[in-house]
């Protein structure tokens, strides 16, 4: 096998810097040779802080479903390192392609949390401004965003931007044809697009073993000529390091990059799902001990970067953040039936104008 061919395969084991106890043990020679470097304490502290806030946001959102304030919420608790670290690696020019599960990532990117929750709250639109935020609407039809990200990456390169399109995708969604087509287009057009697979081990109830027989999802990259890596997705340091390398790789014109992050979804698929039907509580308990926040906390406490004072302050910040979300979500969302007709086309068709008239007449009747 030629050198270049080997370069397209991931490391034999997921890249890891911090072990489960938060001790610096990695990344090991193979990973080091690929240029993944340990982030600074400062960067890691920022990741830790945002993970604390992000998780608080996430638990708040789950709570809001119980109060009927959200129609549905897919939690990413347990995947916090994947949700947060790549966001802090993004530059302003970069575009982000999130899925329904990536609300924590969106707020970590700095988007307004209530805007982020708009769709899940029951509105018909994505809430935020995709152009102002360089962020595509959260994508529900699985894997379709993999192709959008290839096109957007190519578009960024055409515009002469250094920007990269970062595409999040789940392990289950890698089975969809659009994942394949997206990676292939990205490779053929040498698009600056990074695919970040959050392998949280389940697609709703279906475990990874029923999804693929690949040695790991990162082995899919070579089939497209795409450089690939697997990383411990609960090690925020490793996630940050590998994502940075991937973004640089893409931004510098070396083409797309595929990352598989091994992580775990601690909550059910959404609040509407009953995870006890398909997985053992043992498994969940075991993964709880690999908590990405605790791990980074242990490391940063060890280096002295994280003090009790900072921790207290960040905890308070997180509570405040959640309180503000809760409060704002208590306001009823705007209900304006006629807005349904406003954004189907730039100009409503005569047919839509008729239908709007009908609805308007009905509203008048009710009012009268």
């Amino acid at each position: 096998m030629s050198k270049t061919t080997a370069d397209l395969l991931p490391c034999g084991d997921p890249v890891q810097f911090l072990n489960e106890q938060g001790e610096l043990t990695g990344p090991g020679a193979e990973a080091e040779a690929r240029g993944y470097t340990m982030p600074s304490d400062e960067d890691l502290l920022a990741v830790w802080r945002q993970m604390v806030i992000g998780r608080r946001f996430d638990t708040q959102a789950t709570a809001l479903t119980k109060q009927g304030r959200l129609a549905v919420y897919p939690s990413s608790r347990g995947q916090d390192a994947c949700q947060v670290a790549p966001m802090l690696a993004l530059q302003a020019d970069d575009w982000f392609f999130p899925t329904y599960r990536d609300s924590m990532a969106l707020v970590s990117r700095g988007l307004d949390p209530v805007e982020v929750l708009t769709l899940l709250r029951g509105s018909w639109h994505c809430g935020y401004d995709p152009v102002a935020t360089n962020t595509a609407p959260q994508c529900t039809p699985l894997a379709t965003q993999a192709v959008h990200a290839a096109g957007a990456g190519h578009g960024l390169a055409r515009r002469g931007s250094d920007g990269v399109a970062l595409c999040f995708i789940g392990d289950g969604a890698t089975s969809e044809g659009d994942f394949h087509e997206g990676l292939n287009f990205a490779a053929v057009f040498n698009a600056p697009t990074v695919y970040f697979v959050q392998n949280n081990k389940y697609a709703i109830s279906v475990p990874l073993a029923k999804q693929t027989k690949a040695p790991s999802l990162a082995y899919k990259g070579i089939g497209y000529g795409i450089r690939s890596e697997q990383v411990d997705g609960n090690d925020a340091a490793a996630v940050l390091a590998v994502t940075r390398t991937a973004l640089e790789h893409a931004s510098s014109g070396s083409g797309p990059f595929l990352i598989e992050a091994h992580t775990y979804r601690l909550e059910a698929h959404t609040n509407a799902d009953d995870a006890t039907r398909y997985r053992e509580s043992d498994e969940v308990t075991q993964w709880s001990t690999r908590d990405p926040i605790a791990r980074l906390r242990a490391y940063l406490t060890g280096t002295g970067a994280l003090t009790a004072e900072i921790e207290e302050q960040v905890t308070a910040e997180a509570e405040e953040y959640a309180a503000r979300v809760r409060e704002r979500m208590n306001a009823e969302p705007e209900v304006a039936p006629l807005s349904l007709f406003e954004h189907v086309y730039a100009q409503p068709t005569p047919q839509l104008r008729e239908q709007a008239d009908l609805v308007r007449a009905e509203m008048d009747e009710v009012r009268a």
């Binding site: 529900t140 969604a173 089975s175 969809e176 697609a203 029923k210 999804q211 104008r353 008239d357």
Partner: protein
């Protein structure tokens, strides 16, 4: 179809469907149930609840997450004599399988002069009214009904859910089986063996003499409710037809009714333009023109992407819109042209 006579009492449509799958799995070894989350989980709507436990993973199983894959895998299994019953988790998630459904499942019998047949059932929970977020409430029956080679079926009662699904599985041809999500938890009697109308026959759910309301799937209960209100409040005697199967279409029952009543309203939940509602209205007008006292009118979803929970009631044909439309049938001149053209 089922040979034991037994009353199950009242059941939900979801239970009726589950029972139909069970009975089919029991009676025919070649029936296989598969799709996303239909195994251990029992489906996100629990329609396949307990099937893996009771029939083994061999008969009811989860697949990789890929709808074209699921449909194409069913094609390959049908080639080997199996009778796959597959699930598209939500209507909009059937679109990735569109090519497999339209270019293969619908056409294989024809392409092989009936030497290779596709006894595949594609179950699709469809339509709205359940507060689902975007992409979860599409009404895609129009796409399938417009595709020669497919049967398209949609029940509105637990008994129909049972009998139509059994007939669909027994059918030598592919059936797109559209399950109205909003009715999954509606309850009614289910007595086995069921004695519903056969595949291809519409059911007259309520007899009436003044106007025919043609509906299917999720809108049948609204049509019936509207009929009651119309009788109570306006004294109009509304006949309600539940189509049950869209393809084949029961022209006979529909035309006989409209020739009797002289008036017709077609109710469908999908976006109106280019959908099944237009087809029905056109057929009725073609066949019953000289019996009609008023134009056939339609009540349908708006021509917009399915809207969010907080606005879905604005989109959905409801009892009021059906009643308003019936009221507009009492024309003797053209009072409504003005209304239709108000926006010009």
């Amino acid at each position: 179809m089922s040979t034991q006579t037994q009353s199950t009492g009242t059941v939900t449509m979801a239970q009726g469907l589950n029972r139909a799958l069970r009975d089919a799995l029991t009676e025919d070894e070649d029936v296989l149930v598969f799709g996303e989350d239909v195994g251990t989980l029992g489906g996100v709507f629990r329609i396949t609840d307990g099937l893996t436990a009771d029939f083994g993973e061999d008969r009811c199983f989860d697949t990789p997450l890929a709808e074209a894959g699921i449909a194409g895998f069913a094609v390959g299994l049908a080639m080997q004599g199996f009778r796959p019953v597959i699930e598209m988790q939500f209507d909009a998630f059937g679109y990735p399988a569109f090519e497999q459904v339209v270019s293969h499942i619908a056409k294989m019998r024809n392409r092989t002069r009936s030497m290779l047949t596709m006894p595949i059932v594609i179950r699709i929970p469809y339509a709205g009214g359940i507060g689902g977020v975007e992409h979860h409430c599409d009404s895609s029956e129009g796409y399938y009904a417009h595709t020669p080679g497919l049967h398209v079926v949609t029940p509105s009662t637990p008994a129909d859910a049972y009998s139509l699904l059994r007939e669909a599985i027994a059918s030598p041809d592919p059936v797109v089986f559209m399950e109205p999500k909003a009715l999954y938890w509606s309850r009614a009697e289910l007595e086995l063996p069921v004695t519903t109308e056969p595949f291809g026959r519409a059911a007259v759910r309520r007899e009436g003499s003044d106007v025919t309301v043609v509906a299917y799937g999720p809108q049948v209960p609204n049509a019936l409710k509207a009929a009651e209100v119309a009788a109570d409040e306006e004294g109009w005697d509304v006949e309600v037809i539940d189509l049950r199967t869209l393809v084949p279409f029961d022209d006979e029952t529909v035309a006989a009714s409209v020739r009797k009543t002289g008036r017709c309203v077609v109710v469908s939940e999908a976006a109106g333009f280019g959908g099944v509602g237009g087809e029905i209205a056109a057929r009725v007008s073609e066949r019953c023109f000289h019996s009609l006292a008023a134009p056939v009118l339609r009540v349908s979803g708006l021509d917009i992407p399915y809207p969010p929970p907080i606005l879905e009631h604005t989109h959905l044909p409801g009892v009021d819109r059906i009643l308003d439309t019936i009221a507009r049938l009492q024309w003797d001149d053209q009072p409504d042209v003005a209304r239709l053209e108000v926006s010009r």
